[in-house]
C-alpha cells in the first residue's frame, strides 16, 4: 500500500508537469498545425535561466519564477519569428526540421554555458524534506507545491483563453484561420503570442519542476517526447486532452516503473506514441479524424 | 455497350449525404457533362467512380466490370483515366517525364531491373519516352517536353495532364473542370481537342464543367446535380431550358422573376 501511494503521488506530480508542457505543444499545434520540436528545450533553457537567477545570483524563488516565465515569453516570441513564421508558408515539415535545428542550438548553448553531458545541476528544495501523511499516503511537501503550482498555472491558462482579448483571438485563429483573418485578426501576431505563451507555460513548468528533479541540457528532448506522448494521447487538438494525457502518462510511467521494472519508465512514452498514432490517431478527445498534414 | 453505368449511388461523409441515389449511364464514345452548383456533389461523384471515395450504397460498372469499392489503382488498370480540378503536374519532373508517368501501368520494369539497367528495362524506357512524346505532340505541347512541370501556365498544365491521361490509352476519362484557367480561344481549342480524341482514339469522356459554352458545344448529354441528387439528364439544349436547372443555379426567386417579366 505504501508503494502504491508513493507511486500515485509521484505519478500525479510528474503528470502535472507533463500536462503543462503538453499544453504548450497542443496550443501551438491547434493554432498552427505545426509541432515545435524545440518545445522541451525551451523549457530547459527557462529552467537554467531560473537556476541562474535563483541559485547563482541568489534572487528569491518567486521572483526567479516570474523572470524565467518572462524570459520564456520573449524567447518563444523570438523563436517564432526566426524559425517558425517564415516557414509556415513552405511546409509543416520544414517547420519541424527548423525546430529540430533550434532544439540542438538551444542544447548546445545550454551545454556550453551551464555544463556538459554528465553534469546534473541540483536546484535547492523549497520545502522541508519531511513527508506529510495525506489519508495514509506519504507525500513530500515539495510534490504538493509542484502540484499546486501546476494547477494554478493551468487555471491561469484557462482563464487567459476565456477572458482576455488575446486569448480569444488565439482561440479564433486556432479554430479557423481564414475566418480569423477575415475578421481582421492579425494571425502572424497571434502565432507569435501563441508561441510565447506556450513557452512561458513551459518555463513555469521548468521552474516548478527543478527542485524535484535535476536539470541537465538533454532533459529538454526527454520531456518533449513524453509530453508529446501526453498531447497525442489526449488528442492534439484538445486542450483538456493534453491535461488528461499528461496525468495519464505520469501515472503510466510511475506504475510501470514501480511494479514492472524501472527500465520501463522512459520507454512507456515511446510505446504510447506509436500505439496511439497507429490505432487511435485522434487520441482520446480529439474529435476529427487525422488529417494529412 | 454501356461504358459506364452508375446505379443508385449514395455517398455519405459523416452525417452528410454528399450523393443521393444518383443513376445514369454513359455510352461508348459519348461526351457527357456533369453540371450543378457548387457543393452539388460533382467531384464526389468523380471521386467515387475512380475509387478515391467509398460508396455507401449503389453500384458502378465500368466497361462491363463491377468497380464499386475497388481501389483507385485497380480501376485505373482497367482503363479509366482522370484529371483533377486543382492539380498540377508533378513539379519534381519534366513535362515529358510527367507524361511518361502516365505509362506506369503499361510498363513493367521492376526495381531490380531498373537498378541494374537491364536491356529490357532500357528498351521499355525508350518506348515509353517515344509514346509520351507522341502524346505531347498530339496535344501540341512537345515544345515544353524537357521543362520542369512548374514552368508552364496553369492552363498549359491542364492540357499536359490530358496527355498524361491519354498516353495509357484509356477507355474512359473523367475530367474535372478541364477548362479552368483557359482563355476563350483556348477553350475553343480544348473543345476541338476533346472531339478529336473521341473521334480518333475512341475515348469516352465524362466531364465536370462550369464553362457553359464548352458544355453546350462539346457534350452529347448533360447530367445535372443539385444537393447530391440528379435533377436532369438529357441533351444540352433540353437541360438549359429546364426551369428546375435554372432554379438550382440561381435560386427560385430568379426564375419567378424571369417568368413574370
Amino acid at each position: 500500500m505504501m508503494m502504491f501511494g508513493y507511486l500515485l503521488a509521484s505519478g500525479i506530480t510528474t503528470g502535472a508537469l507533463y500536462a503543462l508542457v503538453a499544453l504548450g505543444i497542443t496550443v501551438v499545434y491547434k493554432a498552427t498545425r505545426a509541432v515545435n520540436f524545440a518545445h522541451g528545450d525551451l523549457f530547459m533553457i527557462c529552467g537554467f535561466i531560473a537556476y541562474t537567477f535563483h541559485v547563482m545570483w541568489g534572487m528569491p524563488y518567486v521572483l526567479s519564477l516570474v523572470l524565467a516565465v518572462a524570459a520564456g515569453f520573449v524567447i518563444g516570441a523570438l523563436a517564432e519569428r526566426i524559425a517558425f513564421r517564415p516557414l509556415m508558408e513552405q511546409s509543416l515539415v520544414s517547420v519541424l526540421l527548423a525546430t529540430i535545428g533550434l532544439s540542438f542550438v538551444l542544447k548546445g548553448i545550454a551545454r556550453g554555458i551551464w555544463g556538459g553531458k554528465g553534469d546534473f545541476i541540483p536546484f535547492p528544495p523549497l520545502a522541508s524534506p519531511t513527508p506529510i501523511s495525506l489519508g495514509g499516503i506519504l507525500v513530500m511537501p515539495q510534490q504538493l507545491i509542484v502540484l499546486a503550482g501546476a494547477i494554478a498555472v493551468m487555471l491561469l491558462f484557462a482563464a487567459f483563453f476565456k477572458f482576455t482579448r488575446l486569448g480569444k483571438m488565439m482561440q479564433a485563429t486556432a479554430d479557423n484561420q481564414k475566418a480569423a483573418k477575415l475578421v481582421g485578426i492579425r494571425t502572424g501576431r497571434v502565432y507569435m503570442y501563441t508561441f510565447a505563451v506556450g513557452t512561458s507555460v513551459a518555463g513555469a513548468a521548468a521552474v516548478l519542476m527543478a527542485p524535484i528533479t535535476l536539470l541537465y541540457p538533454d532533459i529538454g528532448f526527454v520531456l518533449f517526447i513524453k509530453s508529446f506522448a501526453a498531447a497525442v494521447l489526449g488528442g492534439l487538438t484538445s486542450i483538456p486532452g493534453a491535461v488528461v494525457g499528461g496525468f495519464l502518462i505520469g501515472l503510466i510511467e510511475a506504475f510501470s516503473g514501480g511494479y514492472i521494472s524501472t527500465n520501463l519508465q522512459d520507454v512507456s512514452s515511446y510505446i504510447v506514441i506509436m500505439l496511439v498514432l497507429i490505432f487511435l490517431p485522434q487520441g482520446l478527445f480529439g474529435g476529427r479524424s487525422l488529417r494529412k498534414v | 455497350m454501356k461504358m459506364l453505368s452508375v446505379r443508385d449511388l449514395s455517398v455519405a461523409f459523416g452525417g452528410v449525404l454528399a450523393l443521393s441515389e444518383v443513376s445514369f449511364d454513359v455510352a461508348e464514345g459519348e461526351i457527357v457533362g456533369i453540371i450543378g452548383p457548387n457543393g452539388a456533389g460533382k467531384t464526389t461523384l468523380l471521386n467515387t467512380i475512380s475509387g478515391l471515395s467509398r460508396a455507401s450504397q449503389g453500384e458502378i460498372h465500368f466497361a462491363g466490370t463491377r468497380i464499386t469499392g475497388r481501389r483507385p489503382t485497380e480501376i485505373a488498370a482497367l482503363g479509366l483515366g482522370r484529371t483533377f480540378q486543382m492539380s498540377q503536374l508533378f513539379p519534381g519532373m519534366t513535362v515529358l517525364e510527367n507524361v511518361m508517368t502516365g505509362l506506369h501501368l503499361r510498363t513493367r520494369a521492376s526495381a531490380l531491373a531498373a537498378a541494374f539497367r537491364t536491356r529490357g528495362m532500357r528498351a521499355e524506357e525508350e518506348e515509353a519516352a517515344g509514346k509520351a512524346w507522341q502524346a505531347l505532340a498530339y496535344v501540341g505541347m512537345e515544345r515544353f517536353a524537357h521543362r520542369p512541370g512548374t514552368e508552364l501556365s496553369f492552363g498549359q498544365q491542364r492540357i499536359v495532364e490530358i496527355a498524361r491521361t491519354l498516353v495509357s490509352e484509356p477507355k474512359l476519362v473523367l475530367l474535372d473542370e478541364p477548362a479552368v484557367g483557359l482563355s476563350v480561344t483556348r477553350v475553343a481549342e480544348l473543345d476541338g481537342l476533346l472531339r478529336r480524341i473521341r473521334d480518333e482514339r475512341g475515348v469516352t469522356f465524362v466531364m465536370i464543367e462550369h464553362v457553359v459554352r464548352l458544355v453546350m458545344d462539346v457534350c452529347d448529354r448533360v447530367v445535372v446535380l443539385n444537393y447530391g441528387m440528379k435533377i436532369e439528364d438529357g441533351r444540352p439544349e433540353e437541360v438549359s431550358a429546364n426551369g428546375q436547372v435554372i432554379e438550382a443555379y440561381l435560386g427560385s426567386g430568379f426564375d419567378a422573376a424571369r417568368r413574370s417579366s
Binding site: L92, G101, K107, G108, G112 | A109, E126, E142, L193
Partner: protein
C-alpha cells in the same frame, strides 16, 4: 569536342580521389574518409525515402544501429564470418525498415516523423536494455576484419571494401531513380492522389522506399562495425538522426549528387568540431535552420543549372526528342490549333 564537367564526372573524380587516399594520408584521415563513405551510403538511403518518395521518417539512425548490431552480434554470438554476418545485418535492417511501412502508410508529415522517431527511441532503448542479447550499454567488441586470403590488412581492407560497396550503391541508386521507379517515388511525393489515379500502388512503392533506406542504412551499419571494432548504442541516437537529416538538407533532397555532397561536407564538419560537443550541436542546428530557411533545396540547386548536372527521372536518349523545326515529324503531326498554345512562351519559373 567539349569537355563537360557534369555530375557523373564529379562523382568519378570524387571516387578516384577516395581510392588513392590510403596512399597519401595518415591513418586518421583514412578513418575520416572511410566514415565519409559510410555516410554517403546513409545519406543516399535516407534521400531515397525522404527526398524522392517524400516520406519524412526519422528512423534511419535506428536502421543504421540495427545493421551494425545485427552484424556484430551474428559475428560474436553465432561465430559467423564477417562476409556472412554483414549481409545478415543489412537484411535485418531492411526487414525492420519495411515492417515500419505498414503503420506508416496511414500517416504523413508530422505524424509520420514523430511516430518513426518514437520507434527509433524505442529501438535504442531495446539495444540499451536487452542485455542478454545486445550486451547493453557497455557495448561489445567485434573481431578484426579478416579478408584472407587477400593480402590486405584490416584497416586497408575495410576501407576498400567500403569504397567498393559505396560505389556500387551509388550506381544502383543512380540507375534506380532514372526509371519508372524513380518517377513513381516522386509522383507519390508530389501528388499521392494523382499518383494513385495513374495506377501507382502506394503501399508497394512506400514499402520499397522504406526497404531501400533500411537496406542502405543496414549496409552502412554493417561496414561501421569493423571500422570501429566496437559497437555501443551511443552512435545511433538522436544526434545521429540530425546529422543524417542535415546531410540531405544541406546536400539536396531528391538528388543523388546532393546526398554525396551533403555527406562529405557534414563529415568534414563533424570531425573538425569533434572536440566540442556543444559547438557541434550549435553548428549543426544552425546549419539546419539556415538551410531550411534560405536554401531548402540544398547546395545541389546551385549546380543544377549547369549542363551535365541535371538529374532526370528518366533514361532515354535525349537527342531523339528535341523540337527542331517543322521538319521534325512530331511537330508536323501536331497540326491542331493547340500547337499555337505551344508557341506561347512558358511562364517564368514559379507561380
Amino acid at each position: 569536342m567539349r569537355l563537360a564537367f557534369g555530375s557523373r564526372q564529379f562523382l568519378a573524380l570524387l571516387f578516384l580521389g577516395l581510392a588513392i587516399i590510403p596512399w597519401v594520408a595518415n591513418p586518421y584521415i583514412l578513418y575520416v574518409a572511410n566514415l565519409a563513405l559510410l555516410y554517403i551510403i546513409l545519406a543516399l538511403g535516407l534521400n531515397l525515402l525522404v527526398g524522392y518518395a517524400g516520406q519524412f521518417a526519422l528512423a534511419n539512425a535506428a536502421m543504421f544501429g540495427i545493421g551494425a548490431y545485427g552484424t556484430g552480434l551474428l559475428e560474436v554470438r553465432l561465430g559467423l564470418p564477417y562476409l556472412l554476418a554483414a549481409p545478415g545485418g543489412a537484411l535485418l535492417a531492411m526487414l525492420i525498415g519495411t515492417a515500419i511501412t505498414f503503420p506508416a502508410l496511414r500517416l504523413s508529415g508530422i505524424y509520420l516523423a514523430l511516430s518513426t522517431l518514437a520507434f527509433a527511441m524505442f529501438s535504442q532503448w531495446v539495444l540499451l536494455h536487452w542485455y542478454s542479447v545486445t550486451y547493453g550499454g557497455g557495448g561489445f567488441r567485434v573481431p578484426n576484419l579478416d579478408l584472407s586470403p587477400l593480402p590486405i590488412g584490416p584497416d586497408l581492407g575495410i576501407y576498400y571494401l567500403s569504397w567498393v560497396v559505396t560505389l556500387v550503391l551509388v550506381v544502383l541508386a543512380w540507375s534506380l531513380v532514372r526509371s519508372r521507379i524513380g518517377r513513381a517515388f516522386v509522383a507519390i511525393r508530389d501528388g499521392e492522389i494523382a499518383a494513385q489515379s495513374l495506377g501507382i500502388d502506394l503501399l508497394r512503392y512506400k514499402a520499397l522506399a522504406f526497404a531501400l533506406s533500411g537496406f542502405y542504412a543496414g549496409v552502412a551499419g554493417a561496414l561501421y562495425t569493423p571500422l570501429l571494432g566496437y559497437i555501443s548504442p551511443e552512435g545511433f541516437d538522436l544526434f545521429q538522426m540530425i546529422i543524417q537529416k542535415s546531410m540531405i538538407v544541406v546536400g539536396g533532397m531528391g538528388s543523388i549528387v546532393g546526398s554525396v555532397i551533403g555527406a562529405t561536407v557534414m563529415v568534414a564538419l563533424l570531425e573538425l568540431l569533434r572536440e566540442f560537443k556543444s559547438t557541434q550541436e550549435i553548428v549543426f542546428g544552425s546549419i539546419l535552420i539556415a538551410f531550411v530557411l534560405f536554401r531548402p533545396r540544398g547546395i545541389v540547386t546551385l549546380l543544377r543549372r549547369l549542363p551535365g548536372w541535371e538529374e532526370p527521372l528518366s533514361s532515354f536518349d535525349r537527342r531523339r526528342y528535341v523540337v527542331s523545326g517543322p521538319a521534325s515529324p512530331a511537330a508536323a503531326a501536331a497540326a491542331t490549333g493547340l500547337a499555337r498554345a505551344a508557341a506561347e512562351p512558358a511562364r517564368g519559373e514559379g507561380r
